[in-house]
Amino acid sequence: MPKEAFRDGVLRLLKQGAQLVDVLPREEYEETHLRGAINIPLKELDRKSTARLDLAAPVIVYCHDYL
């Protein structure tokens, strides 16, 4: 089951080598995103688009906010 993470937890996980994924549409990602995040829009999320990621390393996903 995915876990909820907050700012401090995200910072800690990133130091430990977590993979950061912005799932917003490409235009929104291009305007602003968290430093180091890659973009895989939710609509494009499948085995092919995630093939470059490491299955064993933690993954953190985010969008704009709670909504």
Binding site: M1, P2, K3, E4, A5, F6, R7, G9, V10, L11, L13, A18, V21, D22, V23, L24, Y29, E30, E31, T32, H33, L34, R35, G36, A37, L42, L45, D46, R47, T50, L53, L55, A56, A57, P58, V59, I60, V61, Y62, C63, H64, D65, Y66
Partner: protein
């Protein structure tokens, strides 16, 4: 959107998946590093006066007033121990009974803005509402500074 993405990742076999639900808005508003074509636009967190005077809720109004005026200001932000904004003292409140505590006379619940908001947009709203200054805080209410309408205090 991100909860669905997190479940999708897990369904594809990723061993450890986290959903940073407060997301980009929280990260940016906390002043953490951003990238992108609009990441370098001036934000109110960068131009807010960080040296705005502050006081504790239990401090006497007279003591706060003296300190504020000596520093050349006309307002003071009331903060708790965690630097969370409790209220604001403007000229009117600073002129109150010097023996009262700042908590007794402060303006409760002043409007606050997040540090990642655009300088131009916030100043436009301030002009429309006739506000000469607004507080800038992190999403959890900690003081960042005071944004004035012009570059002057």
């Amino acid at each position: 959107m991100s909860p669905r993405a997190a479940w999708r990742f897990e369904g594809m076999g990723f061993a450890e998946v986290y959903d940073y639900s407060p997301g980009k808005a929280d990260w940016s508003a906390s002043g953490l590093p951003m990238e992108g074509t609009r990441a370098n636009e001036p934000t109110i967190g960068e131009v807010a006066w960080q040296d705005v005077p502050t006081c504790a809720p239990a401090e006497k109004v007279g003591a706060a007033r003296e300190r504020v005026r000596k520093a050349g200001w006309d307002r003071c932000v009331v903060l708790n121990e965690g630097r969370v904004v409790m209220g604001l003292l403007r000229e009117k409140e600073l002129a109150a009974n010097p023996e009262a505590t700042t908590e007794e006379v402060m303006r409760n619940g002043p409007a606050t803005f997040r540090p990642d908001e655009s300088v131009e947009k916030v100043r436009r709203r301030m002009r429309a509402r006739g506000a000469s200054a607004v507080l800038v805080t992190t999403p959890d209410g900690r003081l960042v500074g005071l944004l004035t309408l012009s570059e002057k205090r």
